[in-house]
Subunit: 338 residues, 2 copies
DNA sequence: ATGAAAGCGCTAACAC
DNA sequence: GTGTTAGCGCTTTCAT
């Protein structure tokens, strides 16, 4: 079986306390003893049990990341950012996919509590109706990408309204004003905000918002957004441009445009909120509002670590800017940007 | 603080043993006591500490997944497969990105041991030279995508040789025989096997293998494969077709072809080992050998769970078939497949 | 500088 | 069917 502190202590002829001190890098140990213990550790191939340590110290070196789906490009890169910074700080990452199902989210939150993780980064499927027991502040939580209204938390998100306005403004500047949009479910703050930005941009430019041009699609299902796009394209007075609410929706929209053999940007233009992988190799390459996904993840962990260090710091909300990447799908004359 | 079994026991006027029995779903408890305990649990919002449980039972409900990079499309979907099946069986997933760095891999393996995870799924950066201490069978390990030679493990991989042969044979059947390849590092079995399949296909068709047409690229760096492709395309006697060794390499190759304004499939054909996201929307859409990524992950966990259940079962190696998806990049007349 | 001993929260003999 | 108790491997007073 695995050797324990006891085994090491016995072999080195010291007490377990001394072994523990050395493991934890305390300096109040004599050099010759330290030497003996180090040798014993080496000889036995001893590794301290984090499980036991965690039970004793009541703190773990694990953080939980709860997202809807790692296969969503947005979360893939973000997750990498989280894991990088976490591991650099000695934390392991537990990954949880909820598929936007509040029940699954709840179960994961419960498990995270049972595992007594040091902190949780949560892209919640719902704005409200969280179990207060799971949000009592005992375990620090950082809200990611979506706000949570029940309780005040640290949060890191993208400027959804600003990004959406930029996207739509870009289309307006190209002469489009009949702009359809396919956007995610209404129980997610980011979807709401993006729709808000879309409407603001139109209104501020003096156009009225046509509800017929706004379609909801399941954020996770490419098929769903494909269908929604087909509906928009089949409208008697077809929109001349599309604003798509996330990367998966964009894929569905591109697929739909492809299917009905419309040409981009001649027949229809498009701006996507969020970049897609290989975006500049697609035909046509979509103009996008690119979110700083990796940075979002990185920032979320940093916020979490800061709160672990100082639990009573007052919560902050960090908004990050998204960047307009102009490509062919709008027919802009602007140069293709790297 | 969090309530413990003791608190529950006191409130329900029973012993901690009884509480424990109920938590663990044992039936040897009287109905009225059970009722009282359940109420106490509810009232206190009690959740058992897995940390304490794990220390006591010497088994955790966590498994570790060690891969090179979650951002590599191949691993993204695979990871989802792993997490789905793991969580369905009550396990949490710790995600580790090594970037193909053996040192980081080693550190992660050490951490997994310290956390005493129930099992590890490992896509190793190296074929050999693993620390025997970390591979002593105390924690079950399933080799994923790449073989490990030091020790006999359960393994789940793709038929790389067969897939590569299929790819190259397809190109040969279209009349290509000057086929360049960009393939991953030579210390990874899957790269070696794919190169082997490439060479076999050529040899069996009566062609000789031209070393000048074989390029190595860093599996993780799109930039690297882009450069390698540019080199191939700059050759005096340029290949008429390319066989790319993984999804990221394919992106690099497509980017290179794009850059030098070669037209596909007219100027150059391509078959990729592994599909890319939105593959059918790319211009041109690449013909690919599609790996059953999700199934690979699912199967790996199943193998792991089976071994956790029966540690002395003799190791098995599962090879899964990859599937040829014909798209435009070869100029095949075959219909575009969904 | 070092050791003895208590105890983190839980489960599993073992007694009754 | 239920309670008592020991102890998983570690850290941490408290003595010395």
């Amino acid at each position: 079986m695995m050797p324990t502190v006891k085994d090491v202590a016995k072999r080195a002829n010291v007490s377990t306390a001394t072994v523990s001190r050395i493991i934890n890098g305390q300096n109040n140990v004599g050099p010759e003893m330290r030497q003996r213990v180090l040798e014993a550790i080496e000889a036995l191939g001893y590794r301290p049990s984090r499980v036991a340590r965690h039970l004793r110290t009541k703190g773990t070196s694990v953080i939980g990341l709860i997202i809807s789906d790692i296969q969503n490009f947005f979360y893939t890169s973000l997750t990498r950012g989280v894991e990088d910074i976490a591991s650099r700080n000695g934390y392991s990452l537990i990954l949880c996919n909820t598929d936007e199902d509040p029940k699954r989210e709840r179960v994961y939150l419960e498990v995270m509590h049972e595992e007594n993780v040091a902190g949780i980064i949560l892209a919640s499927a719902t704005e409200r109706e969280h179990d207060a027991k799971l949000m009592d502040g005992r375990i620090p939580i950082v809200a990611l990408d979506r706000l949570i209204r029940d309780v005040q938390l640290d949060a890191v998100l993208v400027d959804n309204i600003g990004g959406a306005k930029t996207a739509v403004a870009h289309l307006l500047s190209l002469g489009h004003h009949r702009i359809g949009t396919i956007i995610g479910q209404g129980n997610i703050t980011s979807s709401i905000e993006r729709q808000g930005g879309y409407e603001q941009a139109l209104t501020e430019a003096g156009y009225t918002v046509d509800p017929a041009l706004i379609r909801r699609a399941d954020l996770r299902r490419v098929e769903d957004s494909r269908r929604a796009t087909l509906e928009l394209l089949a409208l008697p007075d077809r929109p001349t441009a599309l604003f798509t609410g996330n990367a998966l929706i964009t894929m569905g929209a591109l697929s739909a445009v492809h299917e009905v053999s419309l040409r981009m940007p001649d027949d229809i233009a498009l701006v996507s909120f969020d970049d897609v992988p290989g975006g500049d190799l697609l035909a046509p390459a979509p103009t996008v509002i690119r979110q700083p996904t990796y940075m979002l993840g990185k920032t979320a962990v940093e916020l979490l670590l800061a709160r672990i260090a100082d639990p009573k710091r007052s919560p902050v909300e960090i908004r990050m800017e998204a960047e307009l990447i102009i490509r062919d799908s709008c027919g802009a004359k602007a140069s293709r940007k790297q």
